[in-house]
Symmetry: C2
Subunit: 287 residues, 2 copies
DNA sequence: CCCTGTCATACCTGGTGGGTATCACTGACG
DNA sequence: CGTCAGTGATACCCACCAGGTATGACAGGG
């Protein structure tokens, strides 16, 4: 009896994330009692206690935490299988565009490298069609894991390359982007200590998974907003060197001496067997 | 409608591997008609043609091949989730042995490195109990993928490290193990060309996934058998250098000049978060 | 031309996933 | 200290569908 249906796994993930049967059931679009029963059956079948039902709420046991982590990977693998299968099938029998790669990139990342890559790949003899899929901060990892993308440009150490194959493409230092008139902008270089917790220039907050982290900085959701707020002297930002490409006249870039370098990788799922993907990776490695 | 139940995936995998509904149904312990229907429903739901039903047999479409590959990974991830959850739960609530790592090793691999690793780890302050799980050729990868093991010693280039995190532990050359009396045993070194297709010393065949590859050599399933057959002058073998440890008086080891070196890695699933595992890896890296 | 092997169709049934109503329990609050 | 709100568990019911059996359609081989 070591079977685990996708449906049950979804149920458990919902409960494990909400830590509340009612809300989890609502999120799943079902009533609470069947959900309770399903989780009980699951625990009985696996012969494992997954949740600690304290009165007033639910908490995860050790085994529950393991299943939360491993189950996420399993669910991602399953939805990835579906997505990639549909794409492979697509207009398949109708002889449609079978050769197509989805490349996930960070919207805020350097266009220069991407442009070079796309140009270099386009002249390859067996070039597939590349669909560029821009995403938010750290979303590339997720897109690669759940099959929305076939290959991604990722930025270590922000993105985790764990579980992917990858090639290093580019290493660059980081710069602080400051309002041109700010006192700090006069420095030739800065250290991280210099720019942390400056009251008049709080770091802006990007949404991650739809919610904003707490903090004093303004909430933003695109690069233009950020550029404008910096120009207005309301905030500052830390970016890889290549961000100089989009600076305004009202901005000043100051190199950071002690920030870790940003390494851009091209990454892909480890068992990919597509010729088109292999070509793209070869092209990238030769840049 | 992008859902895919584990059960359906199992069904598809069976059909895709057998390429025959009747045999697949038998393997699944069910009748053929429901299986046919399930696959049809799956194809309709995904809106993808997975199988080409030629009269006289079945073949995979492109999309079917994708699902076979991705689905294997998804199923492995699911069973891994179950296995690791059960292990984490185990005698959990009863306060039993929660700290336990399963280490997959090749039965035929060098005991020297393994011994050093286990000894070094045993003295760690937070050392978990290590269960050594010996497996056949290239089985480590499978065991790590489907959760039977938490960590493994693998041997590149034989094992694929794709999708795992790993650390290099040891690089060694390869030797030919010959009957002491054989003419070739007199050489100081040999090349791969020297020892390929020698009529009186055909390479022995190990089972892989329960079946033996075709060839002239004897079928064996353990190292002692192999040692005996070499001693009897019936076969020869190619092994990493550390195999010298178990040679008999009737054996002669001759270095191979042009065989690729064997690199032993310690490998683990990329998203592991166990403290015990981290300790073992740290210990291994310091050997 | 029939027989065999293959997958698809038709139909039936039992198990079960899901719904509603309700219970049992606990902590908060007047 | 009684009441109430909020939680998860239980009881019961129904519809749906997974799976079985019987059979059909169709191709290839003797």
């Amino acid at each position: 009896m070591d079977t685990l249906e996708t449906r049950e796994l979804k149920y458990f993930m919902a409960v494990a994330e909400e830590l509340h049967f009612g809300r989890a059931a609502e999120r799943l679009g079902m009533a609470q009692p069947p959900l309770s029963r399903a989780i009980q059956q699951l625990e009985r079948r696996l012969d494992v206690c997954l949740l600690e039902r304290n009165r007033r709420g639910v908490s995860l046991t050790g085994a529950g935490e393991v299943l939360l982590r491993e189950g996420r990977a399993a669910l991602d693998a399953t939805t990835a299988a579906v997505r990639r299968t549909r794409r492979a099938g697509g207009t398949d029998s109708a002889g449609g565009h079978r050769n197509r790669l989805v490349l996930a990139v960070k919207a805020a990342a350097s266009h220069e490298l991407l442009q070079k890559l796309l140009d270099a790949y386009a002249v390859e003899p067996d070039a597939a069609e590349i669909e560029v899929l821009p995403g938010g901060t750290c979303e590339q990892e997720e897109m690669l894991r759940d099959g929305r993308a076939d290959v991604a440009l990722m930025h270590s150490p922000y993105d985790s390359l764990a579980g992917f194959d990858s090639e290093e493409l580019l290493t660059e230092g980081q710069i602080a982007i400051l309002p041109a008139g700010h006192p700090l902008a006069a420095h030739k270089t800065l250290s991280l200590a210099d720019i942390s917790d400056i009251p008049d220039l709080p770091l802006a907050r990007w949404p991650r998974h739809g919610t904003y982290p707490p903090g004093p900085g303004p909430e933003i959701h695109d690069q233009t907003q950020l550029a404008q707020l910096i120009a207005l002297g309301r905030t500052m930002a830390v970016f890889p060197d290549s961000a100089r490409a989009w600076l305004w006249a009202e901005h000043t870039a100051v190199p950071l001496t002690d920030a870790h370098p940003i390494v851009t990788h091209i990454a892909w799922p480890p068992h990919s067997r597509s010729l088109a993907l292999a070509g793209l990776i070869r092209t990238a490695a030769q840049l």
